[in-house]
């Protein structure tokens, strides 16, 4: 036990000496990756913005006026150059297409919507879009404002016409009183927007907003890239120290535990520093991550501790497989690139085909992303999966170490 304490302490000392360099390299890599992806995304976004926005329509009501209305909007409305409509059968299908980026939003028309317009009992339209996509919200608001303004003017004209007609032709009743009743009923329907439509937003993944999702993605990618920055800790370690320790009864399991303990410490220190700096910059830049104010600092630190445990153990195992330079760094780079892409760190996995999405979700990085997303959205993160990966990687690391020291590789 005393030997383990000394070993852990000395490995920790090594790690601490490498911390500034590791942190600098990792930050540089993450910023570079984020910058490249931002440029690519911006280009793609400008391509998309030149196209018409596709909105799904799920009509539970088979009233012919619905189709007529949609046709009218597509043909005559001011929005016809910007929006086209796609009729859909089921809401789950629409939700899937929304998350996959195939449609920008969908509208659910409730059953009996048109008939209910004749009474006060109106069930609202549901307009569902991705959280953070404001373009459609503002289009809809502008359209409604214009419609309401026109309605008010036309209604005013109709009102005066009705009063004059009543004064000239209807005997025995007060036309002004009848007009008041008419206006009351009209306003009750038209100006109560809650009754007309309800705007709902869904996240890219679970309940996360765009900002929240990308914050999770970049955090996981940063931790994945940490393996590259930390290479001196592994590639410069002497195999012979382990061999001699093993000969002195300090076996592979305790060696791995001591070295991983130090690496974990290094990575956690770096993650906390980078996390604090990142949050400060986000606040300064005013970037919208709506979830962030509601997540306690303690929960974020605990989440980081678990993320570092899982992703760190994976990187440790990879260096155990290939401890030399440049093979070790190359393996870390490939692993970080493949896992961050497949898990959806930079590009939402909901955009991927089903098979790739499921594969990505079950990778260590995917598990980590889901866990962090769960913590951010208060839907609960699955720690079991993270701990499972950690146990697997550390066990494999000890097995590889033992084989190298006592097997053919010795």
């Amino acid at each position: 036990m005393k030997r383990f304490g000394t070993y852990l302490l000395l490995q920790g000392k090594r790690a601490l000496r490498l911390l500034p360099r590791t942190l600098a390299v990792t930050l540089l890599l993450t910023l570079s990756a984020a910058l490249i992806l931002a440029v690519v995304s911006a280009r793609r976004a400008s391509d998309v913005s030149r196209r018409k926005t596709l909105v799904g329509v799920i009509a539970m009501d088979d009233n012919p006026y619905i189709m007529m209305g949609i046709h009218a909007m597509e043909t005559f409305d001011a929005m016809r150059d910007e929006i086209s409509f796609l009729m859909m059968e089921e809401e789950p299908e629409a939700l899937q297409k929304l998350r996959a980026g195939e449609i920008a939003a969908y509208v659910v028309v409730p059953e009996g919507f048109v008939d209910m317009m004749y009474t006060d009992d109106v069930h609202p339209l549901r307009f569902v879009t991705l959280a953070g996509v404001t373009r459609l919200d503002s289009l809809l608001a502008a359209e409604l404002a214009e419609a309401v303004a026109k309605l008010m003017i036309e209604t005013q004209n109709a009102q005066y016409g009705a009063i004059h007609y009543a004064m000239d032709h209807v005997q025995g009743s007060d036309p002004y009183e009848a007009d008041d009743v008419l206006i009351d009923r009209y306003f009750a329907i038209v100006f109560d927007r809650d009754k007309l439509f309800r705007l709902e937003t869904v996240g890219l993944s679970g309940e996360l907003s765009f900002g929240g999702y990308y914050l999770c993605g970049v955090s996981v990618a940063f931790l994945l890239l940490w393996g590259i920055g930390a290479c001196p800790l592994f590639t410069r370690r002497s195999e012979e120290v382990g061999t001699l320790l093993s000969a002195r009864g300090f076996g592979a399991v305790r060696q791995v535990a001591g070295e991983f303990g130090a690496f974990y410490f290094l990575m956690l220190c770096g993650a906390l520093c980078a996390g604090a700096a990142g949050l400060f910059l986000l606040r300064r830049a005013g970037t919208a991550v709506p979830e962030l104010p509601y997540v306690p600092a303690g929960a974020l630190i605990r989440a980081l501790a678990f993320l570092v445990l899982t992703l760190g153990s994976m990187q440790f195992f990879l260096y155990e497989l290939v401890p030399e330079n440049p093979g070790g760094i190359l393996l870390q780079f490939l692993n970080a690139a493949v896992q961050s892409f497949a898990a959806g760190c930079f590009y939402p996995s909901s955009f991927f085909p089903d098979g790739l999405r499921r594969f990505g979700e079950h990778l260590p990085a995917g598990t980590a992303l889901r866990y962090l997303g769960g913590v951010m959205s208060w839907s609960g993160g699955g720690v079991a999966g993270m701990l499972g990966w950690t146990a697997l990687f550390l066990t494999l690391s000890a097995a590889v170490r033992r084989y190298r020291q006592t097997g053919r590789g010795a």
């Binding site: 000395l10 000392k13 090594r14 120290v241 001699l244 009864g249 010795a410």
Partner: protein
Amino acid sequence: MTGEIRDIRKNYGKTAVLRGVTIPVERGGSVALVGANGSGKSTLLRVLAGVLRPQSGEFLWEGVDLLRSRALLERTVAYVPQGTPLLEELSALDNLRLWYDRETLEASLSGGMLRELGVQEFLKTPASRLSGGMRKRLSIGCAISRDPQILLLDEPTAALDLAARERLLDYFSGFCARGGTILLATHDLREVEACTQCCLLSGGVVTPYEYDGDARRLARALERP
């Protein structure tokens, strides 16, 4: 005779590397183990150090088989591998701390084995900045933390300059003069000359060899199947 390496056999998979190695060892003696690259010298030393487990064989020392008693093996034998078993980013002192407890380290530095090796000259220097000779002396210093009776050395003076090599050889002769035993794997004729006994390892077996200073004859002996 104080001890004997008896009939050591070691296979890597189906390949037999050591096919029954037997070498008598004496207290205060030194054995040079000479053989071509890949002949199994390092494997033999690793088996004797307890790093590798042999298929069969004994390492007898004062009547006890050290391979059957790990605690006794750890106290009796020190092994210095060919590479340097050091934590590069840490100072020489930190490297020593891994192998010594505090009291033994202080005693050894103030007038014991470490002082004799001259380790105190570079205690605060990071291992990565030490010269080849210093690194080797530090490696030996780490290995002898338990005051061993037998020192197993794998090519100890390879790639060292003359001064560093002579300093190490002086240390080895002092170690033997105090009753210690050295078994070293080497290609260096100066080391072979300095040893009291020479063995050729070829085809997985060992044969005693009387080295008379004729390097060509030794080379021819190594080439014989």
